[in-house]
Subunit: 109 residues, 2 copies
């Protein structure tokens, strides 16, 4: 109990859910927005800008990274993060497909 039964769902359903999950927190949305804004990467700026502790930011970055949404490369003392274009495109495609599959034509119940 208390454990998501991924085995009973399709690859597609699990993939979409995991991508959504990675973005299902305002801090992670904020981080993504910040990275997108200054296309060139960032790092510990986030700690000052969002009002969260360094450990917390680092944890959120880790989740975004393990979902594949962002990449991190060591840049001297700090770490530079940026969007992974490939995964972002995949996200756009899958999401567009999913959302677009609903045509709000006929009125329902």
């Amino acid at each position: 109990m208390g454990l998501t039964r991924t085995e009973i769902f399709t690859e597609e359903q699990n993939l979409l859910a995991s991508l959504f999950k990675a973005m299902a927190h305002p801090a992670r949305i904020a981080i993504l927005q910040r990275i997108i804004l200054s296309n060139t990467c960032i790092c510990g700026d986030l700690v000052g800008e969002l009002g969260l502790a360094q450990a917390t930011i680092s944890q959120h970055l880790k989740e975004l990274k393990s979902a594949g949404l962002i990449q991190g490369t060591i840049e001297g003392v700090s770490v530079c993060y940026c969007i992974d274009p490939k995964v972002w495109k995949l996200l756009e495609n899958r999401l567009g497909e999913f959302l677009g599959s609903y045509k709000g034509t006929t009125e329902c119940c």
Copy 2:
């Protein structure tokens, strides 16, 4: 501790995160897909089709409903669920805007 600090984020960030959260589970993706497929609504069919207990399905439906993604109307003994077109459109717009704000032009770090 252990509580998301929504007060430090923008309306937009919290909204996006909550919509993502509502879809951040394979069962809820499956439910949405199923509703979209047979545009006309459904109900307890889900219990037979997904391999989850009735109480669990009901709980997931509740979450989708409280996120505003679906509507439920009583239809005799059973309940008929369907997509809420307004919220779905809003979702498409906000999400498209968010995802589209990244232009994978220059290579980063």
